[in-house]
């Protein structure tokens, strides 16, 4: 079983990202489970969401303590929240930032940075990065196929919106592929 933790802020769509990743994974034939950190957080406050992937039915219901993957939607979080907590050795961390990758990640953990906000602004016209980061996640981890991601987005959004979001994800996917 692999586990993903997504860090974001209330209002930034972290939960949606987790759901869409799970949908895409499931489209790809993997068992998936997505859930938010259950809380009362308001817009702007730090929030988390989780995804599990496995080849068999997922029964586990506890929270995620030692993720294989981490997505940080908003790098302003890093100074206040321990976003890297518990990440497994060999794990992958994706941070949305326009800066260079200068964060202290635990040993044996791979850090990928991407300026998802700029991509989203450019492609969607909005600083909403969750679908963009899905593309990055797909490329970085291989947990989801890009085609499945497309399907998931097409299912969720109307045609026009889906196309734009797929485009944003594509840019990120290619960026991470290229960087890898």
């Amino acid at each position: 079983m692999r586990e993903l933790r997504i860090h974001g802020r209330g209002g930034q769509g972290s939960v949606t990202a987790a759901e869409l990743i799970a949908v895409a994974a499931f489209e790809g034939g993997v068992f998936a489970q997505a859930f938010p950190a259950f809380g009362v957080e308001r817009r702007g406050a730090p929030v988390q969401a989780f995804v599990r992937f496995d080849d068999k039915k997922i029964r586990k219901r506890s929270q995620v303590y030692e993720p294989d993957y981490i997505i940080v939607q908003d790098s302003t979080l890093i100074k206040d929240v321990n976003v890297f907590m518990g990440v497994k050795k060999g794990g992958i961390v994706i941070v949305n930032t326009e800066k260079k990758p200068e964060y202290q990640v635990p040993e044996g953990v791979k850090l990928i940075t991407i300026d998802a906000t700029s991509i989203a602004l450019r492609v969607l016209g909005l600083p909403i990065t969750n679908t963009t980061l899905m593309g990055a996640f797909a490329a970085a981890t291989g947990e989801i196929q890009f085609a499945a991601l497309e399907k998931a987005l097409s299912h969720r959004f109307n045609k026009e919106l889906a196309a734009k979001n797929i485009e944003a994800a594509r840019v990120a996917f290619d960026f991470v592929r290229g960087a890898a």
Binding site: A18, E19, A22, V23, F26, F31, A32, Q33, A34, F35, P36, F38, V40, K57, I58, R59, K60, R61, S62, Q63, Y65
Partner: protein, 385 residues
Amino acid sequence: MMEITEGSHAVAEAVRLCRPQVVSAYPITPQTHIVEALADFVANGKLDAEYITVENELSALSACVGASAAGSRTYSATTSQGLLLMTEVVFNAAGMRLPIVMSIANRAVGAPLSIWNDMQDSISLRDAGWLQFYAEDNQEATDLHFLAYKVAESKEIQLPVFVCFDGFILSHTYEPIDMLLQEQVDQYLPKFDPAEKLDAKDPISFGMYATPEYYLEFRYEMDQAQKRAKDVIAKAGKEFGTMFGRDYSALTVGYLLDDAETVIVAMGSVCGTVKDAIDEMRAAGKKVGLLKIRVFRPFPSEEIAKALSKVKRVAVLDKNISLGAKGGATAIEVRDAMYGSMIPVKGYVLGLGGRDIRKKDIKEIVSLCENGIGDQFYGLRKELI
């Protein structure tokens, strides 16, 4: 059809497929996504029901009482404070023998207020006369609604049903579900055809009062209906299995019970984590099993006594506490079921108010049980007490 979806949405979809004519519910975390989805179905013509946006939970269930008595299939959903606020109507609806189905997205009760999961809410209403089903995962949470209407509306039963599933842990979790199709549901669940209803063509008085000459017998008949429900569930659950491949005839379900020495008894979503933990313990050579209680009312006393008659010890997990009693309700009633057996049964109150339960906790509980330690809270933060 397999799809991956949120627990609440799956439940809402199941409810839609059951074609309730009147839906009346009041929002409360973590039940909200269900009622929002239903409101959305109605707003978009996907569900032909009257959706009554009531002003509180007492009214929510009262409206169901009226609608059900008038001959409609009705639905409600609530949890926690909402359930407690409607308590009087909960008892009333059962006594009036109205086959209402209500989802409970289980949540702790206050004070202190908590929006997080445990099962104190529905368990606290275990005397009320409603059948109580508990789901382990969202597949069960979904399917049990079909079963619930089928059983509730059966002429032998005529009792309302709680379909309970863990708030957040299931309600807010996306996972794969095999969702039935409308024609399948229609085939399984016929139109609601009440024995009697409010109808000017055949006037009947509903909800009369009972003097001491009659009251005891009315309560007895309710208790008998509860007991009859065991057979009706067996039949309806089997039929479901035959038609759709998932058999819900059993009130309790064992996991690796056959040779188990230590058995965990549990309800709801924790069973998944327990199974994972059991697999690991089995791998480490420990003979541990699980007995899941899917139906808490009627309480499957005989089934439990039988299933556990040969084990060495029993650890009962309770996400509720009867404050001032020996422990949680499940432990108390499991001991009741096994009275006279001499098999040690220990209770563990845990996971209250959303405290997470992990595989390691299950393993630790098994150790405690092996050492005869139990009937206590588990997982306390020592620094706080």
